[in-house]
Symmetry: C2
Subunit: 486 residues, 2 copies
């Protein structure tokens, strides 16, 4: 982890080392004294051995600096005070949750405060009558799911990291997950937000009602803005009734492209599974190696789907899908209403990324393509793997066209690493050429900011910059993330 | 209709009269010559007898000016040229569709161009494989619904004016309708937009994919912005599979509050009807007078609900609701899978507003409250009617808490009209006091801009103004609508 040299008193150059209270003799910047006075010593950390732990998220190859200070607020007032002080002194602030992100959006910026929201972790309210929850940003996704389940309710967004990622991070990244094919993404569940603005003012926007059009849809602007427009301190989230017990389908194919055909046929004929996932042979074998799950190691692709339509309806829905699998020439298809068997199949899917990590360092791509292009995209990924001479495991949310081709490589082999990076770009290029997007759910962060410009073009980039300037004129919130200030 | 006096050459004072080409001797402003040269004479109308027809929407009591010119573009290039010329000359522009709005958002501004999008009325694409449609803004809602239905698809948003309102207007207002309780509102169906910005640049934002997080969610910012941030010239809309044949429930009650209890119980127990509407006795009688529909004129409230879950599941869903109606003490409840009978009941609901219009001039309120407060809100409306000595018919989307208490009065009776206005405000006040919003789906326009400030507060208003300035620094797009420039 590179640490910049000592250069005290210049805010832009403030480093973790210079601001450590324990480094006797070094001047403590005024903003740090003010922060400590306002929030208390245990909420403002500067020991570089501690702050280094907050330097980066899970996008291992995205650049990261070292926080000048790590602030752990307990209340909205703490966040407001932090932003007010940072704003007065021109100190940048990087908001973050648990750090499960995959695009470097939470990566530290040298000289900046990293604002860690994990202590604000209370579910403030669950209302069955209004079918909503009010939560703080540090609540872990799974904790919310578990708590609302006790009320017979369901919070659908379920990123793979759902057992440790936080709702605040989910909001900042508009996270998806396995449920999206039927239930949409985080933004679809946001009714209202409390947001601390760049200058410390507290904005309450949105509402507790199902519908409402009083003013611009500010909640949905903050959702997915990766901490560049404000710090979310509270969210009012709509919930759904608990889903019915799922019926699960698994099918194997002799080519990945066949799975794309099944998805296209399913979309066209109107089946909407509650889960619809794909894994290619690389993933199947990696998972089987890891879990000893007795998967068919000779299959080239595996589909897992579920219906939560309930009883007969769910079975009927999966039987329609089974027929589509047969029509596409599947090798095997199996439908079960056995919950344990369904859980096992789902566990295999959820373990795909950890399993691929056994094969080397992974570069996880996150391309979404129109559903009619899934088969072509899967073929294209095969071609990239061949051309670049690399192992690429494809796992993804087949039903919504959001694929995670994952490149496995040995970082010690410079030439191979170089090929891996090229393959990563090839796949983004392929996705864009099919009318897709460079990121379906992982976000832009500092990993794909150059690609963002390419996808959205100069007019949209200019609109992004105008909005950023409108809400954060000094450019203090998560600088360098998503797009450059221009 | 007031017309300002002649004051040629000052752009801010340009009036319909001064810019009429037929008014010989009056100087034609340069911008009008440029517009006519760019778009052709048949796309730029200035005859005041013609332009007056574009002066206002359906919010009869909202103030309206008279357009200096009415422009009817045929292409995005026409819209871009209009905005470029308007921008160069500092002429304000009011975008509008069919004019079915209920908040004055499309009302003309003196001296401004009214940009009428109705000629851009082509459904450019319907894709079953990607389950989406690409449409121009002038497409009528029902025309889109009918066209996608031919492909076995469904575009849910269905405002009451669905047989004449346009998709562009629906987007600008984030329109709802009867489907919202299960299927959400317009913004939930927007994947991508083409928008002409205030300076004439063309922004393409969003995507064709189901998921995508590359950049800010600009489409959802433009949706519901009432033409104050840009002119929508194309939309990519997601579609759903065609719903199943509905099963319909009707129930009558001896108090409106009982219907609120049924909604709360339904929400709590997880029933999600595809339609869930309420009418009070005033509406029941007005509709019965108009349609001779043999409704129970003694009932104090009537609920209509549908399930499109299909077959047995739909019947089961409506039976659960029927039991909740009985639990709440309904007078009568009836479930039918007869489509014709269901259509008849729905027609009664859809005719509620036209029926109320037979009782006098109507002031239609549009308050959404949290679903747990519906019963209290309905009681409150009764109380307002009593206190102000007025007829108030309540009709609304019970299932999502969006109510339309409609005040019927005689505008010739000044004192009664004054009481009607006070009652209108009483109801907004009541909604806000219950954690509701001043507009669930009709928008703010120039009818409720002062109330908007009250609902969202000074910080949010300031954020709104910042965003407006960022995208429309000269304040040319639909000035004075939603909120004042400040």
């Amino acid at each position: 982890m590179p640490r910049p040299p000592r250069a005290p008193r210049t805010v832009a150059d403030v480093t973790a080392t210079t601001v450590t209270p324990t480094s006797a003799g070094a001047a403590t910047p005024a903003w740090l004294d003010e922060l400590t006075a306002a929030l208390g010593r245990d909420s403002v950390l500067t020991d570089p051995d501690v702050t280094a732990a907050y330097a980066r998220d899970q996008a291992m190859l995205a650049p990261a600096g070292l926080p000048a200070a790590v602030v752990l607020p307990r209340t909205t007032a703490d966040v407001s005070a932090t932003m007010r002080i940072a704003h007065a002194h021109g100190v940048p602030v990087v908001p973050r949750g648990a750090g499960s992100g995959l695009a470097g959006a939470a990566n530290a910026v040298d000289g900046a405060i990293t604002l860690v929201m994990t202590r604000m972790d209370t579910v403030l309210e669950v209302s069955t009558a209004d079918r909503l929850a009010v939560v703080q940003p540090g609540v872990v996704n799974k904790a919310l799911r578990d708590e609302v389940a006790q009320h017979g309710l369901f919070y659908p967004p379920d990123p793979s990291s759902y057992d440790w990622c936080t709702i605040g991070g989910n909001l900042a990244n508009n996270s998806g997950g396995l449920c999206c094919v039927k239930y949409g993404v985080t933004t679809d569940y946001v009714l209202g937000l409390e947001v601390v603005l760049a200058d410390g003012r507290v904005l309450r926007t949105g509402r507790r009602t199902v519908k409402g059009v009083a003013g611009y849809d500010l909640p949905k602007l903050f959702v997915g803005s990766e901490g560049t427009l404000g710090v979310i301190t509270e969210a009012t989230l709509s919930l759904r009734p608990a889903p019915q017990k799922p019926v699960t389908l698994v099918a194997t194919f002799s080519s990945t492209a066949q799975t794309g055909q099944v998805v296209e046929a399913a979309v066209s004929c109107g089946v909407v599974p509650s889960l619809f996932e794909v894994m290619d042979r690389t993933c199947i074998r990696a998972v089987d190696d890891l879990l000893k799950a007795d998967l068919d190691r000779d299959a080239h692709a595996l589909l897992v789907a579920q219906s939560d339509a309930g009883g007969e309806a769910a079975v009927a829905e999966m039987e329609v899908l089974a027929q589509l699998c047969r029509d596409a020439g599947c090798e095997l298809v199996h439908v079960t209403d056995d919950a344990a068997e369904g859980d096992l199949l789902l566990a295999a899917r959820r373990m795909a990324l950890p399993a691929l990590e056994q094969l080397g360092t992974t570069l996880i791509d996150d391309v979404a393509v129109p559903r009619s292009r899934i088969a072509a995209f899967l073929d294209g990924c095969d071609a990239v793997a061949g051309e670049r001479g690399l192992v690429i495991g494809v796992v993804g949310h087949a039903g919504d066209g959001n694929m995670h081709p994952t490149i496995c490589f040995d970082p010690a082999d410079t030439e191979q690493a170089e090929r891996a990076h090229r393959a990563f770009d090839d796949i983004l290029e392929l996705g864009l050429s099919m009318g897709g997007t460079i990121t379906g759910e992982h976000g832009v962060g500092n990993l794909k900011s150059e690609w963002l410009e390419r996808e959205i073009g100069p007019v949209s980039l200019d609109v992004h910059r105008s909005i950023k300037r409108a809400l954060d004129p000094a450019g203090l919130l998560n600088p360098g993330k998503m797009f450059s200030a221009g």
